[in-house]
Symmetry: C2
Subunit: 600 residues, 2 copies
């Protein structure tokens, strides 16, 4: 069975030494987060996920969910018990607001818990995971009554939530939705329509499931300007908070998916179900983006999380499997063959994964800090900068993180040779599960367009200029240190490519918007490379400073410096080729008529 | 259900217009291949695979194979009937030698039939597919009696064959195998051991299955110098050719795999089975490489084939699915949304796939011609050049072809958004099936090492120098034509990177062989890019010449020119970043001790 060991040492390095969370103790919500308390939370969270949740990952994939004739759904063996323990321990409440029963801790810690949970079991993670988006929407747009009715139980995990957007004929283009909401005399609405791909749409983990549903009121304008958001509980809630009648919403069937098989991905039928509008009529898209933005960060973390667990299993295999001899002479002459570790091409794959997962974890941790600071920093200037950063980089965390996360899973599967293709070894599941993250919560093509079409130009390019400055400052500081000069030069070069690509898009996207569309995907990847480069500079600087103190765990910091060097050598060169591709523009890409793609 | 339409127009373009097969009519075996005959074979083969084999692909994936209590294996519904039709039509015999009942046609046509079959149904293709390798080994190393007993029935398809190499503890490092072959008084051997991952090891398609098995005789030297090859029929064959007793070989279980589920991948138990040595004692590895080389080309073709069928389905979806509006204004104002085709990022993925599949098909077709010419060209100089080319490029066809083939399947799945993740749409199967091709017949890491560690240096680098010259000549000729100058410049630049990478490996691989290992994978990919660039130059030249004649199907040739341009813009830039990565060498890659990879 595959293993999972939460990377607590790396998490502590990032939180305590790189972003220095404790130094923000003056900010509201951060005062409880002492270094000791943080370390205890990290260790306990790691233990819980490694011991309780991870062992259900492979069995869940094999068993899947079962829909019964009455439309009820049973999750795989052990999920219900594990969810009860998860809820009891409050792992879903770390970063939720105290006002509604959460622990009010920094998002930095909430992110850590999400990563560990997603590594341990991505299907399991998606039951509480989608709830977080629904909670965010209610926090931002719900009426006081809606908040009081739903938030305490959703935050405690007594009830779970869903996000109902997609319909059979539309996903990306939500202006096309057909689900109708007809107002009733009592202020509620009657919701009718079919939603598909609804994660955790029906299950046996909780007594109630709170659906947030996009629908159109009668006479709503066509297009996405005519969408409203509704709250539709599976069980109606009585005035005293107890459960009332069953609502007219049900699971019509379960989807047969490539992966995340232990999550109940449902076709949901609304047959005149009772719902209540959240926020204003026809302003549902804005509310949806609140759900989406949190969810997108969560999905980026899934890319990291699957890459991490795949990496750990590949490392284990590489250290146990003996095959062939080192090119430089037998490493273990007493054995019949050396371990896979001696082979450069295996090492290449493992170092790729190490450089990506550690860089990406830093990026997510730093991103979570920006998210915290955007709300809680002392000054408006700091809050705005942090908000600019996390808004700009959310599509990069999601798009780049899940693209490279998937590629990493594939490479880790490759380390296993033929055994990687056999389900018993578990590597196939990591690949299959990781694949969805490139697709849902907005495909990575949509993320790239969000970045290039919206985020770049906002406020006259203020955010991207701030990002350039941040990287430039870091590079300049690092260049002064001989040990970091090479990496600083490589990241600086990648940042120059990013600037050139930005300039190119500004100039050519105006002329023909398809130039922006054609360059969006490479642009997102260049920004991903520069972001991880920035993180590796930060980590290398800390490692260098620590090594000067001759610490006990010297090897940990030395490995950071080697991996930083590897990142510079093997990740940054792509920034140039991506910029060259981007600068080719859309002409050849868009030149052919649809018929020219047909075969015959 | 997914569609498949054999790309016959493209095949005819390559065979008749690009490599001009008819012009080789003076060579033995080629005289029968008139343009008319070739076209008829292509069309009929395309029809057969589209109509008979492709419809069984998805049902085969869903149903899989069944092993019964007695060890017998049933293939999915319809496979037995389709195989009977396949055999009757002689699709496996096109390029087999006439002497043993084959049609003796050029390998160029055999390749075409392999591609169509692998696109239609990769699992199905692997039943006759593995037989070809076994046939090659018997042709090269079998005794006259072995050849007479087995070849006619294996070539006709009455019996199918397998290749038994891998054991639970070893795949790549075959020196470690434990299967034993003890000589008997009558000249036969008693074979005992366990083999795993045996494709088509047991099934119900034929009355007999001919296993070619690697084993060690008593007192054989350790290492791969002590391996011998044995022929072990499932049913012993009587002197008159009729079937005798059941041999002591059986299927112990079927592997649970990520894909190719309709192929019976078996654990094979040899319990004192009767076998006969093929070729010389302890020279089994050489015989195995004969099997392997043909099989590696076949696997490269699978990479192309899965990319092709995935592409076709993505094109169909992109033309039917309406979502969003073109950035340049509504393309179909009468509809509620435009087709996916209008979106640049979708177009990017489709053009990537178009440029890869058409370039890769040309590469395989041209490679098959080199394989033919290596045996049949009129002069020794021509035969040697052709042999140098196909030996050098076989690992590139396998490694680059399956890496990019898999990536293409993933991108085509991405075109479908959420539906790509749902099994009913078929895209998941293409991804899952394509994944194995990067692993089997030598992982792509092994291909890269074969290229860099063996092929480059053979005969003082004669082959790679000839390849450089071939590309230089093509570029020089193309540069003279204004329409091709840009692409010629891009391919020339990529070829310069390949030369620089070669020089770097020569200089640094000597100093430390891990530098060769660390650079092998990027090197293989640079050579893949240059090879497809060479092919796109050849195709563009033909298209340009045809367009000057104002042909009826002008659009076909115009599309070739646009796609060639796209290839130059979007594929060749990677040659530079890959060379920069390669030139970083092995230092950072190999610096860390194994413990540094652990988490905690």
């Amino acid at each position: 069975m595959p293993i999972y060991q939460a990377p607590t040492r790396d998490t502590r390095f990032l939180i305590n030494e790189v972003i220095k969370l404790e130094s923000y103790g003056n900010l509201p919500g951060f005062e409880d987060a002492s270094a000791e308390m943080i370390d205890a939370v990290i260790e306990e969270c790691g233990r819980f996920n490694s011991e309780v949740v991870a062992p259900l990952n492979q069995s869940g994939d094999q068993q899947g969910c079962t829909r019964h004739a009455d439309g009820s759904v049973t999750t795989p063996d052990g999920f219900k018990q594990a969810y009860a323990l998860f809820r009891e321990a409050g792992w879903g409440t770390l970063a939720a607001p105290k006002e509604w029963g959460g622990q009010g801790l920094p998002h930095v810690l909430g992110f850590m818990a999400e990563e560990y949970l997603a590594s341990a079991n991505q299907s399991f993670m998606m039951y509480p995971g989608l709830t977080a988006g629904a909670v965010n929407a209610l926090l931002a747009k719900g009426s006081p009554e809606q908040q009081a009715t739903y938030l305490p139980k959703m935050i405690s995990g007594e009830w779970l939530g869903t996000m109902n957007l997609t319909e059979p004929h539309c996903g990306t283009d939500l202006g096309l939705i057909r689900t109708r909401a007809v107002p009733a005399a009592d202020g509620s609405y009657s919701i009718t329509g079919t939603k598909i791909f609804i994660s955790a749409g029906e299950h046996d983990l909780t007594d109630n499931i709170i659906h947030l549903v996009l629908a159109k009121t009668p006479d709503a304008p066509e297009s996405s300007k005519g969408i409203s958001l509704f709250i539709v509980p599976k069980m109606l809630v009585n005035a005293d908070g107890s459960l009332g009648d069953r609502n007219a919403v049900s699971c019509g069937s379960l989807e047969h998916k490539m992966g995340i098989k232990a999550n109940a991905t449902c076709v949901m039928n609304y047959d005149g179900a009772t719902g209540w509008m959240v926020g204003e009529e026809n302003k549902g898209l804005a509310a949806m983006f609140i759900m989406m933005n949190a969810a997108r960060l969560g999905v980026g973390i899934q890319g990291l999380a699957q890459a991490e667990v795949a990496y750990q299993n590949a490392v284990k295999y590489a250290s146990e499997r003996r095959q062939g001899r080192a090119l430089t002479g037998a490493a273990d002459p007493a054995e019949k063959a050396d371990t896979l570790f001696v082979h450069a091409d295996v090492r290449r794959m493992l170092m790729d994964a190490k450089a990506f997962t550690e860089g990406m974890r830093a990026f997510c941790t730093w991103g979570a800090l920006q998210s915290d600071l955007s709300h809680k920093a002392a000054t408006e200037v700091e809050r705005q900068l942090a908000d600019d950063m996390i808004s700009l980089l959310t599509p990069v965390i999601k798009g780049y993180g899940t693209d490279i996360g998937f590629e990493t899973c594939v490479e880790m599967q490759q380390v296993f040779g033929g055994h990687g293709y056999i389900e018993e070894w578990g590597m196939s599941q990591f690949v299959r599960d990781a694949r969805i993250a490139q697709i849902y919560e907005g495909t990575n093509g949509i993320q790239a367009m969000d970045l290039v079409g919206r985020k770049l130009a906002q406020n006259g390019g203020r955010a991207v200029q701030a990002f350039f400055a941040l990287v430039d400052t870091e590079c300049a500081a690092a260049k002064a240190k001989p040990e970091l000069a090479a990496l600083a030069g490589q990241v600086e070069a990648a940042n120059s490519e990013l600037k050139a690509a930005t300039m190119w898009l500004m100039q050519n996207g105006m002329m023909n918007p398809n130039n922006a569309g054609a360059g969006a995907h490479p642009y997102m990847h260049i920004m991903g490379i520069v972001s991880l480069g920035l993180m590796w500079l930060k980590m290398a600087e800390v490692a260098l400073a620590r090594l000067a103190e001759a610490p006990a765990d010297k090897a940990f910091y030395e490995a950071k410096l080697v991996t930083a060097r590897y990142f510079g050598e093997r990740f940054t060169p792509d920034a140039t080729s991506l910029r060259v591709k981007l600068a080719a523009g859309c002409e050849a890409m868009m030149a052919l008529p649809a018929e020219a793609f047909a075969r015959g």
